[in-house]
Symmetry: C2
Subunit: 409 residues, 2 copies
């Protein structure tokens, strides 16, 4: 198949094709992990309680566990005196039974002794050697949390898709869960292609630049809930790129490359993908980022981003982040994850292509960042981008726009 058989895709079509490929070639996976390490992870199934909670009738206050009827009519003026037959700390139990005229001194959190149905707070008691004066009347179950009152066994306590906050982890811990099933993070490998790129730590010969995309896109994939790694650089060379893709696909679910040059990479990547598998997208009608390529090799998605870091970041955010985040089990509506504001300067846009304009958000002010598309330093201040539809030539100063924020979970 040659390049000529694939027309450049409109951005909406490209989004749909990519989502469909994700849906066809991947299913959400789950894994069992320790609850204590589950912060921020997403439940892959509903969770039901294993036991009643509290697991026993529990004293809610420090005081005396009594038969409530023994307190009826008690007051400061006319206290009722009860015999204290034991003392119960939280975590302790007793064989003694509370009968009429008797009581057990009890700490908050302790299991109620048999027979007792209420706690009189210590503030309303006068303790003597082996007896206590009750100075108030209490009702049945007063200051007692009944077994199962918080939740009963086999009840739905957390839902599939819930993000595990510290509080939700607390709920799991209270039920004795040591491990929990969460969505597995999709694994993403990132390769940087280009003869001109050099890794940090090396000297920079004239004509070369340091690689940006490898570790930048890796972190972008992490922000989508993926387990991502930078797999290194490869020359802009057919055999080397082919070997690198084949070798890398064993280790990851999704492979993302980005190339040193727009035309150069697009071609090499296209030829490699044509031989190894099938190309579904070769070119998206967006500015910047036209030379984007998407294919399937061995049942796995391989994406070629533009080599220019700003373009790569925007294309990743616009076309890869939504399906990748979904595959990580994270329910995020990217179309709704926008902030609104007013443009501080007008934006000119080429007609016929969707344009992504980098912007900085400053309260209500949306400031376009005008730099040529190679200007990596625009990323020092950019918060996201505005989409200028292909039919629009100009967005005027003061116009209200929606900003797609870069995904930084």
């Amino acid at each position: 198949m040659g390049t000529e058989f694939l027309k450049i895709k409109e951005s909406e079509d490209a989004l749909e094709i990519i989502q469909n490929l994700f849906d066809k070639y991947y299913t959400l996976q789950s894994e069992e992990i320790a609850v204590e390490d589950a912060y921020g992870r997403v439940l892959s199934g509903d969770v039901y309680s294993r036991m009643d909670f509290p697991p026993f009738d529990k004293a809610l206050k420090d005081g005396f566990a009594i038969l409530s009827q023994d307190s009826f009519g008690a007051s400061e003026e006319s206290p009722k005196t009860l015999e204290v037959i034991d003392f119960l700390e939280a975590g302790s139990t007793t064989d003694k039974i509370v009968e009429e005229g008797k009581c057990v001194e009890i700490s908050t959190g302790a299991a109620m002794p048999e027979g007792a149905d209420a706690v009189v707070m210590v503030e309303y008691c006068e303790k003597m050697d082996s007896a206590v004066n009750i100075l108030t009347t209490v009702t049945p179950t007063q200051d007692v949390a009944k077994k199962g009152s918080d939740t009963e066994e086999s009840k739905l306590i957390l839902k599939k898709g819930d993000v595990l906050t510290p509080g939700k982890i607390g709920v799991l811990l209270s039920q004795g869960f040591e491990t929990i099933e969460v969505y597995k993070k999709p694994t993403v490998g990132v390769i940087s292609t280009g003869n001109e790129i050099t890794l940090q730590g090396n000297e920079l010969p004239y004509g070369k630049i340091y690689d940006v995309n490898g570790n930048m896109i890796k972190n972008d994939a992490i922000s989508c809930g993926a387990d991502a790694k930078f797999l290194g650089t490869v020359k802009d060379n057919y055999d080397q790129l082919k070997a690198k893709i084949q070798e890398s696909l064993d280790d990851v679910d999704i492979l993302i490359g980005s190339g040193g040059t727009s035309a150069g990479l697009g071609d090499v990547m296209k030829h490699v993908l044509d031989e190894l598998g099938q190309v579904y997208i070769h070119g998206i009608s967006v500015q910047p980022g036209k030379p984007t390529i998407v294919g399937i090799v061995d049942g796995k998605i391989v994406i070629g981003l533009p080599g220019n870091p700003v373009s790569a970041l925007m294309i990743f955010n616009a076309f890869v982040a939504p399906p990748l985040t979904k595959l990580a089990g994270i329910d995020k509506n990217f179309e709704k994850s926008v902030v609104k504001g007013k443009l501080t300067r007008r934006i000119h846009s080429p007609v016929g292509r969707m344009q992504y304009q980098l912007v900085k958000v400053d309260g209500e002010d949306i400031q376009p960042i005008f730099k040529d598309s190679g200007a990596i330093f625009s990323l020092s201040t950019a918060d996201g981008y505005v989409k200028v539809p292909k039919s629009v030539e100009l967005l005027d100063e003061g116009e209200e726009v929606e900003v797609y924020l870069f995904n930084i979970n």
Copy 2:
């Protein structure tokens, strides 16, 4: 010093005392880490560029590098023919000099050859064997990114306090940074105290409950940017708690305990802190969470949270999260991190104490979660809490309130 010398603190006073202790006993620390692992970390200093970027005059398009004056007057009808003396891929260099009548074929990203001052896009050229017809006029610097045009050496490129997004990591990578100075995460140890608590994985004898606070508060501290670990449980016993605190303080900056019983822990913790150091807060006038204790031991803050998990979580969020987040170098205004909405049901509150009411946020609807304070399952659905001032007895249905969201970075 006995308990009687410390009056219960109003919540605003407690906040101020805790912040002052953090300010007095800690300073923000920084550490050098690998740029590739720096996603989400916070810069501890301004960052300046190490070199001009681009580091050389760079071709922005595939085409021919020429002397722009050689194209003056060129058009499709009257092309100018130039001799092609070399081919430059990105990353390559040439010794050849572009003089009048000559040019070098060039790829996007390549360093411009000496002499050339513009690129003619390949779309406006007719290539022949060793010559090319130029079909358009170009201006000096056209489709060339001049050395230093994106940033010059020694310019401020990122600021102290910046959170390292993938894009900002890209900026650092482009300048060849292998490592970067970021704020060190404060280390937090969490201890759970109580005779009634058992760790997950063990059987649960009658009268015992599984520990919640250890791993819940650990994750809460992580959400504030801390490096936190659960250090295990200890009996509600003076000698054991004292030994555990002494042993733990060697390893962490801040120690947080939480106890099995309100009175029990408060007392034991109070006595231990009195012996080992100094207690600054013993009791805060809030509901729930009154039995909170804050002291200094060996120049480190030790905090005793209520044993009840819901109380512990709220007290942590209200009193510990703000100074801890600040110590992690994260600039977050907790007073502004609120959402507004209208109460779906009225809240009754005890006069004389600030009350924290757990709520669920559902769009504009703020739903109070009414459970007794031991009800861990309220955390299945709680998004945060509403503060009811101590002078207020009732917040009515429909009243607008501010919700302090639980901190889940």
